[in-house]
Symmetry: C2
């Protein structure tokens, strides 16, 4: 087999704020043939996620930081082109941590088979992938949503928020409201995704709007954003409410100056809880969850959108769209 | 029966910061004889608690605010001197919401009988009363403390904190550390109450000390204080830690400028939860809890201190000691 080359995005230096092109090193590298247990993948779509910002930090977190010079970590879906793992054969489609590159050598044990006869490949990085599973376990296990609940979701037009809100609806929530950063996104979550109402956090007064849209208060607040909307939601909790800490996109670029929730004492008066989670803690239940999500997709009670950008070389600018919000639903790079 | 007079402390105006003498109206008033269902109590000890600060606020909370001109709400223990409730007879000792007054007309249904043959009367306002029950349900139900846990308690020389830490020890915590505001209090919680270590939050660097005293991090943080120590504790959580929001004495006098916990994202990375509670939610289990606490008192594995101030007329200054910390254990006024 001739030497395989891979077009890669590597971390050149650690960013302080929003990463830009100078923090990345992009180009072709020779990669090895698979060793025992490894699989060589030609990637088709790469997932661009808020969590990637955390992996650029030097500090210890739930995963080790991406090292300087290392290929940027990312989820991806693609086709096996060579395999030394007994479970995978050439031509099979797989999803896993491929990194931001055209060709990836990955330990077979970390891959999952997918099939574009079941759903288009991007779905395995969206509702049937980590964002969908994150929404699922955040809403069911941490948020413990139940019939009749009133639910608020922030970043509701995003990959996780859009699914989280629809899962609440599928599970019998009485009222699901989402916040998003443009009128177009607000229209989308109500008209296309079935949310009961939307709040444009850039143009509307958060506290007033939550009072109006959820006059009885919130049973579940699913937070992807942090900052002002977390505080506004805390001020509107019902007794025994659950605040799901899924992310804090408004805070990720300056963790030295995080805005702590000043209304946290609402948790005390309302006997409420605020709880974080990491989706991989539920890895053993992924199969069951994906099956339930798949059922909703099939039934048409769960919808999703992708924003697909073509070409790995766009990664530095495409990644910035996570922070500027210039996207709808799941942000992906189509590799070729 | 001749007209009964009661020496009372009434709310004269709503304080902004720490209440002082001008916010109170103190003097004698005629009170009625008991109507059907009521009991007339001569109070012996009045409980002085941080929660009382919250009742002075106009805002809706878990209890209605004390109205201007109304007798200040407080727990108290005393003796029945007249009763029109079938369950209570003259001479019986009772605990309940008597208010800050020498004689109180109280609906019998809200009273509980006590007996100074079982324990000294102040114990029914301490370990066997609301502070003890608060510590109990906070540590067991909300903190879900279990064998082998590392536990940090703030305001650990106070009425609730001192009991909370000892309950953790009784339930098999591996290590219980308390914070307090003087070397004397620190000595007390280690030498008299059996805590494993103490941190003087006024003179020691909180973060460093927590790292030193709890090198493996915290499974439970029982927070009575808020502010800096809450943030320091959040930075030291273990995976699946529980932060019990019991109070926030450092924040009560200026709720317009609450210090939000900037390290709250530690809840996400550590899959931890922060949860508030109100002890009265567990009222149906008070009997069982008081029995278990009583067992520890008898066995000598739970100790407590009182700071007793004589005379209801001292109330304005005595109440301030909640905020200045000039007390050890439970703060009480001995009525006569």
């Amino acid at each position: 087999m001739r030497t395989q080359r891979s077009f890669q995005v590597r971390l050149a230096s650690r960013p302080d704020g929003i990463p830009n092109r100078e923090h990345w090193e992009i180009g072709w590298t020779d990669i090895n043939s698979p060793s025992d247990g490894e699989v060589l993948i030609e990637t088709a779509f790469i997932s661009i996620d808020p969590a990637m910002r955390g992996w650029l930090r030097e500090a210890k977190s739930y995963l080790p930081p991406v090292a300087i010079g290392e290929v940027m970590r990312a989820g991806g879906v693609g086709t096996v082109i060579a395999s030394k793992h007994p479970d995978f054969r050439e031509g099979e489609q797989v999803v896993g941590h491929t990194g931001v590159q055209t060709h990836a050598l990955v330990p077979g044990g970390t891959l999952r088979k997918v099939n574009d006869n079941v759903a288009p490949l991007p779905a395995f990085l969206g509702p049937l992938g980590i964002p969908g599973l994150t929404a699922y376990f955040g809403m069911t296990e941490v948020g413990a949503v139940k019939q009749g609940d009133t639910v608020l979701v922030s970043a509701a037009a995003g990959a996780v928020g859009s699914i989280a809100g629809q899962i609440a609806l599928n599970l019998g929530a009485r009222r699901v409201v989402g916040s998003a950063g443009s009128d177009e996104k607000c229209r989308h979550i109500v008209e296309d995704l079935g949310f009961d109402a939307a709040i444009n956090y850039k143009t509307e007064a958060l506290g007033e709007r939550i009072s109006e849209r959820c006059p009885e208060g919130l049973d579940v607040y699913f937070d992807n954003v942090g900052g002002d909307i977390l505080d506004a939601a805390l001020a509107h909790l019902r007794i025994r409410a659950r605040v799901v800490l899924c992310g804090a996109i408004s805070q990720y670029n300056d963790l030295e100056e995080v805005q702590g929730p000043r209304n946290y004492l609402s948790l005390l008066v309302r006997r409420a809880r605020m709880q974080g989670f990491i989706v991989s803690d539920y890895a053993e239940q992924y199969g069951r969850a994906a099956e339930e999500i798949g059922g909703w997709l099939e039934a048409g009670t769960l919808n999703y959108r992708n924003t697909i950008v073509r070409g790995l070389e766009t990664f530095p600018e495409t990644f910035q769209r996570i922070f500027t919000g210039e996207k709808l639903g799941k942000l992906l790079i189509q590799v070729v």
